[in-house]
């Protein structure tokens, strides 16, 4: 396994095969030995990565936190080596209907709040962490309505957020938690018009996916992988379709500084064992 890059990715959509087959061709042309394995959920991927089935994992933010904590538990280190330009500085929002008399986070007490899947950082974990920091806990202070679409895929599927938004509009929820980009998307689609809804609260900024390695990854190969990735250009006809499919204009160096909110949420939920029982 030290003779080539084996990348782990979660198959949250059929296009994932197209993406990594494309990257495989790209790296092959550049002379880098590259293969990939697909997992049906991030927990299997983190375990597989730790067990040596792959030496790089394309991790969701929660999978990154899981990998990092797993490594720490064993006295090892995980590193985020690269990420998309679109993975940096996201925020989530809590949206309510206008005229519903909810004007502050405290006003959510006793209300019904719709979120995405249990393991979605942007649509559940981080927004609930922001509410918890203000003293509001699910079950105790408000009713939680979770739309568990694609459990194990950490909210990569937008369906859960869309259902939460629809619940707000239908009146079966008093608030919904979604990613900032989906606030704009749903407003454009008309799912969640800005005329009749408003953003009650905004979370702090956080980062999304990254390429994760453990400290025993083959250094020269990883170096070459990162170098090739960062050199990919959006105006290069050979790589543009891949970048468009993966949703970025430019790869950036990885950074571990954008996961503080998610780490707090994981701590509050009971730590690593809650998500990745040993």
């Amino acid at each position: 396994m030290t003779d080539r890059i084996i990348l782990g990715a979660v198959a949250y959509d059929p296009k994932v095969v197209t993406i990594w087959e494309g990257f495989k061709d790209f790296f092959q042309v550049q002379g880098l030995a590259f293969d990939y394995v697909l997992y049906s959920n991030y927990e299997s991927q983190v375990r597989g990565h730790w067990g040596g089935q792959c030496n790089i994992a394309w991790n969701s933010p929660l999978a990154w936190v899981e990998a990092e904590r797993l490594a720490t538990r064993h006295g090892r280190r995980a590193h985020a080596i690269a990420m998309r330009d679109t993975d940096r500085d996201l925020a989530s929002v809590v949206v309510v209907r206008k005229g519903a008399g909810i004007d502050s986070i405290a006003g959510l007490k006793g209300k019904r709040i719709a979120t995405g899947a249990e393991d979605s950082p942007q649509a559940t974990l981080i927004p609930l962490e922001v509410l918890a920091a203000e003293g509001l806990l699910p079950g105790r202070d408000f009713e939680l309505i979770r739309y568990d679409i694609g459990l194990g895929k950490h909210g990569d599927h937008v369906g859960g957020e869309r259902d939460a938004a629809k619940a707000l509009m239908a009146g079966s929820a008093d608030a919904c938690c979604i990613l900032d980009a989906n606030r704009l998307l749903f407003a454009r689609e008309g799912t969640l018009p800005t005329g009749v809804t408003k953003v009650l609260a905004e979370t702090g900024l956080f980062d999304h996916c990254n390429f994760t390695i453990f400290d025993d990854a083959p250094q020269a190969l990883i170096h070459r992988f990162t170098e090739l990735l960062l050199a990919m250009r959006f105006d290069d006809p050979a790589v543009r379709p891949l970048l468009e499919l993966e949703g970025l204009k430019q790869w950036l160096p990885g950074r571990a500084s954008g996961y503080a909110l998610l780490n707090s949420a994981v701590d509050r939920a009971g730590g690593l064992d809650h998500f990745l029982p040993s």
């Binding site: 330009d85 679109t86 940096r88 500085d89 996201l90 925020a91 929002v93 990613l179 900032d180 980009a181 606030r183 704009l184 407003a187 454009r188 018009p193 800005t194 408003k198 953003v199 905004e202 250009r233 959006f234 105006d235 290069d236 006809p237 543009r240 379709p241 949703g247 204009k249 430019q250």
Partner: protein, 388 residues
């Protein structure tokens, strides 16, 4: 630069104004955005992230956007007017309008015909405009109620000639249609002309079919020799050769045949449809001559290649029956107008004359393409006995 969005939100079109303003920025300049939409900052951050635009929200009411270097460079696909046609447009210009700013990274197309030398004619735009103006409606351009009074033996001859014309028109549709599908659209005028030429042939197929079935319930005989001749046309892969064999030699001969039928046809409907078809054919011949003359003037190897193609086709078809007896007979009967021996003799003389006229027309075209008189005579005599 400063952009005031007032109360306009990104969910209702503010992105149009943002993109417009970003395009107008000088290099390294940034855009200051103000507005009073309640979620402006939030939406801007989400939008800028996916657009590859850096967003700075540190100032209280003014948001600063700076495009990253990753903005897409574009490349002009030649220039819009015909003078802007380039010699070899790259395949990655794709289907873009000539002169458009094509984003780099666009998918390329596997066009087969990408050289101006091979396909271009400065007459293409003019011929296309003429063709567009001269389209006629088969339903109204011909009075289908005109009388067909001749006896059934003459009608059988007409039906046989129509049967022959229909399969020739089909070949004449397939050839331009096949090349139209592979021409780089940078040569827009040529593409348009080939498309309208195919549409002309579609109408010819229609009117000849209608005429064939006016009194009879089925067309006549399709001969293997006729189809063998047409197959060498339809399968010819080289544009210059196909165009030469079809438009210059074939349609050139056909033009004479249609003129003949427009005069000698036994009924007004036959005469009308042949007259209308001949008008279209004249344009088809004109384009063939025009682009081949241009090509030959720039490429000394073209004429020898065309001559060789004539010889090759002649050798290939030598052992087929050529113009089948049925068609020859039918044309003679039409020219004779009856079955008295003296009438047949007169009809036969007219068909001999017709073949001479076709030969002279082909020789004239060959000379216009730059062949010498002796060579033109020799090559014309090699032309398929099927006429097309």
């Amino acid at each position: 630069m400063r952009l005031d969005l007032e109360s306009l939100g990104l969910e209702e079109g503010a992105d149009i104004l943002l993109r417009r303003a970003l395009r107008r920025l000088a290099p390294a300049e940034s855009l200051e955005v103000v507005g009073n939409h309640p979620e402006l900052r939030l939406h801007l951050r989400a939008w800028a992230r996916t657009m590859g635009v850096a967003a700075d929200f540190t100032a209280p009411h003014t948001h600063r956007l700076t495009p990253n270097a990753a903005g897409l460079p574009t490349e002009r696909a030649g220039a819009a007017p015909p003078e802007g046609v380039v010699e070899s447009p790259p395949r990655h210009w794709g289907l873009a309008a000539r002169g458009a700013a094509v984003e780099r990274g666009s998918a390329g197309f596997d066009f087969g015909l990408v050289d101006k030398l091979e396909i271009w004619s400065d007459d293409a735009a003019r011929l296309y405009a003429r063709a567009a103006a001269a389209q006629w409606d088969p339903q109204t351009a011909i009075d289908w109620h005109q009388p067909v009074a001749h006896d059934d033996d003459i009608e059988t001859a007409v039906v046989q000639v129509m049967t022959y014309l229909i399969e020739n028109e089909t070949a004449a549709l397939l050839v331009p249609a096949r090349f139209a599908a592979t021409i780089h659209p940078h040569f827009r005028e040529v593409l348009q002309l080939l498309a309208i030429q195919a549409a002309d042939e579609a109408r010819h197929m229609e009117v000849f079919t209608r005429r064939a079935l006016l009194r009879h319930t089925a067309p006549g005989v399709s001969t293997s020799g006729g189809q063998a001749s047409l197959k060498t046309l339809v399968t010819e892969p080289d544009f210059a050769i196909a165009s030469f064999l079809l438009s210059v030699m074939g349609e050139g001969s056909f033009l004479v045949l249609l003129d003949f039928l427009a005069r000698e046809g036994p009924d007004p409907i036959t005469r009308d449809i042949c007259r209308l078809a001949a008008q279209d054919e004249a344009r088809h011949v004109a384009f063939g001559l025009s682009h081949l003359r241009r090509h030959a003037a720039q490429d000394a190897t073209l004429r020898p290649r065309l001559a060789m193609a004539m010889q090759r086709r002649h050798a290939e078809l030598m052992h087929t029956s050529g113009l089948n007896e049925l068609v020859f007979e039918a044309l003679t009967v039409i020219a004779a107008g009856g079955f008295e021996p003296a009438m047949i003799a007169g009809g036969h003389a007219k068909i001999m004359r017709l073949q001479t006229d076709m030969d002279l027309a082909r020789q004239g075209s060959l000379i216009r393409l730059g062949f010498g008189e002796a060579e033109a005579r020799a090559l014309s005599s090699l032309h398929t006995r099927n006429f097309m």
